[in-house]
Structures are given as structure tokens and as C-alpha cells.
């Protein structure tokens, strides 16, 4: 088991390097010269000034050297500066990441709990109440985009009923998590709903599939009660495909959800990414894409680990 883990971790390193190369060189292929965004237009009129700036920023060095410098800085935690705002990228992340983690993390936790329990009961008794509920939620969830659902929530609970605030993350004087809870409810609900549909379907179908397996009959032939059959034999064996969906949602934790963040004026990372792209803020784009890519790598690593825990047959290969 330990050698299995070490091997999987070792594979991650070259893959991360490869991705960093891709990100670095792909951005350099872009015809837009970032230097033009940095300097005031009058200074840009003088090519000698620009040349001096390039030299001092190291932009004239051969590309591989530039890449190695960038990589070195990234590894030591120096993410550089945003071109458009001049802020340190690490400061931006420190400001924005917690907001996104809070929103997406909560939504993932909620949607997973609901989807797994509802999916389990739906799959255990197809055609039953839980199944009907699950199918209704799944169809609506897939058909209705989450931004629409978000707007609807805002309309009803904020503007019409006035129960909950319309957006933002923190108001002056709100210090603890509980203070901020009212602002969280609507965006988390909207995001949860969007995540629920696919997960419920997967869980339901996976459980239904496992229910038909022979070992379920074996468990019943031992006189094991149904709830124990479900919990002890069916659930664990149904989790595999569900885990894959879950793990590949992890990148949302660092990528954020642009639409939901926009609707609810949530100061998350999704916002940052979009504005960086529209203003060609290359350092920010590179760092955030790198973060998302690393999260995807981590997710696939996690899938392997979880699968090997769930299914002992995987540990061999």
C-alpha cells in the first residue's frame, strides 16, 4: 500500500512540471506584449525605455532560462505581481481563495451529503418516494442552469421576501463565521443545487447496479437485514464511480464558480480569473491556471487512493 502511494506521488512530479511548461510556453506564444500594459502610454512611445524595462525584467533572456526562473519563483512561493493592479499575486490569492473555499467547499459538502443519501435510497428502491424525488431533482437540476436558479433565489428570498441579503461576503462588523452565514445561504444553495443533479443520478444508478450484484443476494442469504445489506455491502461498492465525479469537482475549490460569484457579488477567485483574462494579466492567469491544474492532478491522485481503499483489487496493479 505504501509503495503504491509513493509511486503515485512520484508520477505527480513530472506531470506537474509538464503542465507548468505548457502553461508558460503557451502564454508566451500569445502575440500580445504584456509590457504595453505595464507602462504609461507616453513611456511606451520610446522604444529605448521599453527595451530597458525588458532587460531589467529579464524578458530578453532565452525562453528556457525565463521558464526556469519563473518555476524557481513559483516553487519558493513568489508568484510575482499582477500587471493590471500591481498587487502581489500571493496577496490577491490570500484575499480571494478563502472566499471561494468557503462557498465552493460548503456547496460540495452539502451536495455530496444530500446526493449520496438520496441516491442510496433511490437506488435501493427504484420507483419509491426517494427515487421519484431524486429523479425530479436530477431532471430540474440538469435542465435549469445554476445561474438561473441563483437569480430565482435572489428574486424570491432577497427582493420579494427580504429574508436574506442579496449578496456580498462580509459586512462591516461581521467577524465570526456565524455573522456571515446569512450571506452564504443563497449562493451556497444555488451552487449546491447545480452540483446535486449529476451526483444524484450517478449515485442512484451506481447503487441500483450494485443492488443487482450476486454478493447482495449472498448477504441476504445470511439473514442480514436490509439496512445492513445497504450500508455494509451496497454503499461501499457503489462509491467508485461517484468518487470520480466528486474528485473532478475539487478544482472548483481553487477555480471558483464565475457565474454564481457574479450574481451574488461574491469576491471569489472566479472573478479574479475572468478580469485577469479580459485585461491580459498574464502572471495572474499563469498562477491561477497552475493552481487549477495542480488541483486536477491532486484530484486524480485522490481518486486512485480512494479507489484502492474502496476496492482491494486495485491495490495489486
Amino acid at each position: 500500500m505504501i509503495t503504491f502511494l509513493i509511486r503515485r506521488i512520484l508520477i505527480l512530479v513530472p506531470m506537474a512540471l509538464l503542465i507548468s511548461m505548457l502553461i508558460f510556453f503557451a502564454i508566451r506564444l500569445s502575440p500580445v506584449d504584456p509590457i504595453l500594459y505595464m507602462v504609461p502610454p507616453d513611456a511606451a512611445n520610446d522604444p529605448a525605455n521599453l527595451e530597458r524595462l525588458r532587460e531589467s525584467l529579464g524578458l530578453n533572456a532565452p525562453l528556457p532560462i525565463q521558464y526556469l526562473r519563473w518555476l524557481g519563483n513559483m516553487v519558493t512561493g513568489d508568484f510575482g505581481y499582477s500587471i493590471s493592479s500591481g498587487q502581489r499575486i500571493s496577496d490577491i490569492l490570500a484575499l480571494r481563495l478563502p472566499a471561494t473555499l468557503e462557498l465552493v467547499g460548503l456547496a460540495m459538502l452539502l451536495s455530496t451529503t444530500i446526493a449520496l443519501s438520496l441516491g442510496l435510497f433511490a437506488g435501493a428502491k427504484p420507483g419509491g418516494i426517494a427515487d421519484k424525488l431524486a429523479r425530479t431533482i436530477a431532471v430540474i437540476g440538469i435542465a435549469v442552469p445554476d445561474f438561473f436558479f441563483g437569480i430565482a433565489l435572489l428574486q424570491i428570498f432577497s427582493y420579494r421576501l427580504g429574508w436574506l441579503p442579496a449578496g456580498g461576503r462580509m459586512l462591516p462588523g461581521q467577524i465570526t463565521f456565524l455573522d456571515r452565514l446569512p450571506q452564504l445561504v443563497l449562493p451556497v444553495a444555488a451552487l449546491t443545487f447545480g452540483m446535486l443533479a449529476v451526483l444524484i443520478r450517478y449515485t442512484r444508478n451506481s447503487v441500483l447496479d450494485t443492488m443487482g450484484k450476486e454478493f447482495v443476494k449472498t448477504a441476504r442469504s445470511k439473514g442480514v437485514p436490509e439496512w445492513k445489506v445497504l450500508y455494509g455491502h451496497v454503499f461501499r461498492n457503489s462509491l467508485g464511480p461517484v468518487m470520480v465525479i466528486l474528485a473532478f469537482r475539487l478544482p472548483l475549490l481553487v477555480g471558483g464558480s464565475v457565474l454564481i460569484e457574479t450574481i451574488f457579488r461574491w469576491p471569489g477567485i472566479g472573478h479574479t480569473v475572468v478580469s485577469a483574462v479580459s485585461s491580459s494579466d498574464y502572471p495572474v492567469i499563469m498562477v491561477t491556471s497552475m493552481l487549477i491544474a495542480l488541483m486536477i492532478l491532486f484530484a486524480s491522485f485522490l481518486i486512485d487512493v480512494v479507489k484502492s481503499i474502496l476496492d482491494p483489487r486495485v491495490r495489486l496493479s
Binding site: F215, G223, P225, P312
Partner: protein
């Protein structure tokens, strides 16, 4: 009338089972009657789809969701007490107290019948924990003991292995251990050796036979391997299209088959020393769909001795000899069927017939 038994552990009486399918209701079992003698080794034979498996699954209320017992009853008798299994609810406490504890089940495909995610020791012990107040350590000791008794080498270590780490034969022993661990009165094995090679098959059969003879278990074995039947069975029941067509002792059924289907079935089995130039007999025609036969004898369409009276009404069991019954109108009151008399003539001209049984 079914075969008369003196002390049946399980009595299946006129059992009807229907399945709901996309094409409507299909009558899978029709008036299946079987008395299973305590301590005996019964083989249920018949072709695929004849209802062998459905019969034993209804005995423990383990039919698939779309299957339902619609008539008749199943009586299970232990410690002098009759329990009507057929009236118990599928997942209720009553039947669960019998499943695993009083009736052990052994299934065909051991790879899929064992939970791939749990260690085998845990899966066997689950049965113990279900039916007895017992500590983990005690349960483990019992499992190890059972493993060694059933010939699983290195039992102490192997209880901590996963199903995929076993060979097919060893997995079947694990299944048997699971069925045996609570010391049940009745063991039901649903084609336990179909997926195994011949030598392993013989070992598993020997094991089941030993359990019957030495531990006094009643064993019901479902198989379509006639060779196995002649080696291990005390009694044989032949099923065709959802009905028991013949039931008797091994000698009676194999040496003196009364139902035309049993005769045809036995003639289609190849045997050592048969003339390779004579084509193997087959049964004419196709097995009809269970839905198409509603009246009369289910074998009438393929039977060489078919008569008008076979085509309508309910065909009852007729006694051929003491403890030997067949569901065929050709059986006379004197216990000798016209068809078997006619068949004697047929047997004589195909040499080597005797060697088969």
C-alpha cells in the same frame, strides 16, 4: 399427490411462482411439489430455465424483486416445529432468522457472490454475528476452524485475504464455510461447481457429500450434470418447464425413469464406451416458452408418446413404485408405465445403455 416422505425437513406443496416482466406476467413455477427427506442428498436436475433455481430461491424468499409466490406453500420443519416460509415477508425478521442460521445457501459464481471489498473472514463471520451473540475473537476462531475443516490451507492467515486472492475452488470452499458456519440443518447449493474444472468439482462434491453423511446435513444440489447426480444423490427430482415431472430415489430415477422427459434426458447424456459412430440422441424440438404452455402436460409438444389426454387438464403425479412418482398419464395403476415398457424395446437396440447408469 407428491412423493411420500416420512420425515421431510422441507415440504414444497403446489408452489406457484410468477414473474412480472415487460411482456406481462409469466408463470415460472406451476404446482411444484417436493418433499425433502431429512438427512438426504437431493439433486434437482433439468435444463436451464426449467425453474430449478427459482424453486430453491423461493424456499428462502430470495426471489428477484419481480418474482412472487402466488400459490402453494413451503413448510420448513426443524425441532419438530413447522414453519410456513411461503407466508413470511421477504426481508422480515422471521425468514432472516432461518436464512443463514437454519438454511445455508451456496451459489454458483463465487467471484461475484462474494463481496470484493471485504475480507473473506469478515464475510463468513457476518453470518455468525447475525445469528449469535459472539465476540469478534470467538467468531474469528470459529471461522478459522471451519476453514481448516473444509480444507482451506493456512486458514489462520487466509481469513484475512480478499476473495480475489483465492482460486475458484478455494472461493467455493469459502462460500461453503459461510453457509455452514451457523451449523444449518439444510444446505442448498445452486450449481456450485459449474464454474470449476472437473477435479475441483469432484473435491467440492466430495466435501458436500461428507457434510451430509458425517454432519447429518440435508443437502439440496441443483445441477444439470447427470454424472454428478449418479455419484452423490440419494434422491433425484427432475424438473421441466416449471414443474417437477419425476421424483424418486437415485436408482429409481436413473435406472428406471418413468417420465418420457427423464428418459430422453438420460439418453442424451454421453457415456464412456459408447459407440462413437452412433449419433448422440437429442430431444426433438425446442423448449417452449413458459408462457405458451397453459394446459395439459408441458412436455406434450416434444413427447414421442403424446396422446389426446395429455393435452388438456391437470396432469397429476402417479406413483410408479414406493417413493417414486412421475407426472405422466402413461403410468398405469399397476405402477409400470406403457411408455417405459415400450422404451425397454428401444433400449435393447442401443447397446451400452446399462453402462451409463
Amino acid at each position: 399427490m407428491s412423493r411420500l416422505g416420512t420425515d421431510p425437513i422441507l415440504s414444497i406443496q403446489d408452489l406457484d411462482v410468477k414473474f412480472t416482466t415487460s411482456e406481462g406476467e409469466v408463470h415460472i413455477l406451476r404446482q411444484v411439489s417436493l418433499d425433502i427427506e431429512r438427512g438426504s442428498f437431493l439433486c434437482i436436475v433439468g435444463e436451464s430455465g426449467c425453474g430449478k433455481s427459482v424453486t430453491v430461491h423461493s424456499v428462502v424468499q430470495l426471489l428477484p424483486e419481480n418474482g412472487e409466490i402466488t400459490g402453494g406453500r413451503v413448510l420448513f420443519t426443524v425441532d419438530g416445529r413447522d414453519q410456513e416460509i411461503s407466508s413470511m415477508s421477504r426481508y422480515g425478521a422471521q425468514i432472516r432468522g432461518i436464512r443463514g442460521a437454519r438454511i445455508g445457501m451456496i451459489f454458483q459464481d463465487t467471484m461475484s457472490s462474494l463481496n470484493p471489498a471485504h475480507k473473506v473472514g469478515r464475510q463468513v463471520a457476518e453470518n455468525l454475528h447475525q445469528h449469535r451473540k459472539i465476540s469478534r475473537r470467538e467468531a474469528r476462531e470459529l471461522v478459522v476452524k471451519m476453514f481448516s475443516r473444509l480444507g482451506i490451507p493456512d486458514a489462520e492467515r487466509r481469513v484475512d485475504a480478499y476473495p480475489h486472492e483465492f482460486s475458484g475452488g478455494m472461493r467455493q470452499r469459502v462460500m461453503i464455510a459461510m453457509a455452514m458456519i451457523c451449523d444449518p440443518d439444510l444446505l442448498i447449493a445452486d450449481e456450485p461447481t459449474t464454474a470449476l474444472d472437473v477435479t475441483i468439482q469432484a473435491q467440492i462434491m466430495e466435501l458436500l457429500k461428507t457434510l451430509q453423511q458425517e454432519a447429518g446435513k440435508t443437502v439440496v444440489l441443483i445441477t444439470h450434470n447427470m454424472g454428478l447426480v449418479s455419484e452423490v444423490a440419494d434422491d433425484v427430482a427432475v424438473m421441466y418447464l416449471g414443474r417437477v415431472v419425476e421424483h424418486g430415489s437415485r436408482e429409481q430415477v436413473l435406472k428406471n425413469p418413468q417420465h418420457p422427459y427423464t428418459q430422453a434426458l438420460l439418453q442424451s447424456v454421453p457415456f464412456m464406451g459408447m459407440d462413437p459412430n452412433v449419433p448422440l440422441r437429442t430431444i426433438a424440438g425446442q423448449t417452449p416458452s413458459p408462457a405458451s404452455v397453459t394446459d395439459g402436460c408441458e412436455f406434450a409438444g416434444r413427447c414421442p408418446y403424446v396422446q389426446d389426454r395429455c393435452l388438456t387438464g391437470k396432469i397429476a403425479f402417479r406413483q410408479a413404485a414406493d417413493g417414486h412418482v412421475a407426472r405422466c398419464v402413461l403410468l398405469d395403476e399397476d405402477g409400470m408405465s406403457e411408455c417405459s415398457r415400450r422404451d425397454d424395446a428401444r433400449v435393447e437396440d442401443s447397446s451400452g445403455q446399462e453402462a451409463r447408469t
